[in-house]
Amino acid sequence: MANEVEEKILSIFKENDVNVSKSDYDKPLDDLWGVDSISYVQILADISKEFQFQITDEDFILADLNTFNGVMTFTNAKLVSV
């Protein structure tokens, strides 16, 4: 299940023209080629739509959404709470 989530998130990044390799998982997403403020939020929106959860205003302020690993952890936590 965890691998499926990781693969799906990777493919969502790829659909938004951002290729993420394992060595990028802890890098700030801002530093990845193809990520700007809009594509970053679009990727998160696509993830939330794919896994059918909502990203709230609080999530942007409080959650660690700055790295690929952070996004995966966040997504897994949302899936558990749904």
Binding site: Y40, T56, E58
Partner: protein
Amino acid sequence: MQFSFELKPYNDFWMNCILNAAYTIAVTVEPSYKYAALMNDYRYKTWGAAIDSSFITPTLDVLDYEENWNDFILQQVIAKETAHTFKDPADFLTELKEIIADKQIIKLNVDLFYWLPKNIACNKFHMSHYAIINGFDTRAKMYHVLDDDIDGYGTHLIPEERVVEAFMNSGAMTDKEFGGPHAYIYHLQDQIVPYRLSLQDIQNHAARLKRELADFSFDGLWDIKNHDLFDDYIRISLIGINIISSRQAANGMLIQSLNEMDLIEESLFQELRLHVNKIQRGWKSIKQIFINKTINGDKTLNLSLIQSKANELLELEMNMWSLLVEIERNEMIIIRQES
């Protein structure tokens, strides 16, 4: 392409279209002015939206450049801008090309509705502003432009018909109340002195910011009452949030420069860096909330959370500037103790 002046767009951070254009010219002519752009000579302010003056959003503005150019840093590079009216507006391209061929740097009034595809106003709302046009290709009927869109301030090639449409629909051409000319021409100083970053100037502004931030608050701002216009209010809010967020990137670069030039001790640099990183992350998260509303169609805003976060960032910024102001105070204490 025939250029008046080959300009390298200033894109270290975004201030606004006027300042990024001015710094583009200044930094191309004399690269030391890239440090002038980082100066903390700004002030937080609020503005009412054009569509609804009761909707108040925050932004910040650089001091002097609008009302007091002679006191502004870049006066040392750009002596003045003169208003220009085309002799025959219906055939403005002929005169525009003559001005460019004459090596003059011109900025043209255009309606952003028709201008750059990735500008937030394009095909969405009408807004007049001035864009530098510094080159043309007669055979290809293309114009070389410097302007900003969602990717920042950069260069663009615009087809002639779009230049015509954007100018013909600009405020200068269509609105008697507009008050601005068809174009402005920049005039550079004959002699340009290189810029030197001054710790004293930065401290003076830090002391000013510390006072001003103590009286500023985000309470009551971004308060959307008319949800029919929710998307417009979000876009308007993003303009100011983007400016504030960009300025925090500049503050990071300023602190880095102070360290590289050995103007501050390493321990102070590390402390300032901690502060500015937190402030940058905080404003980024606020910006992401607003961008998210434009993407997911959600028409609710957790206003108290956002206002509270913004006020927390204000306090962090105040503390950050206090650290710089304190250097002088601590040095005076040491001098008094030694004497």
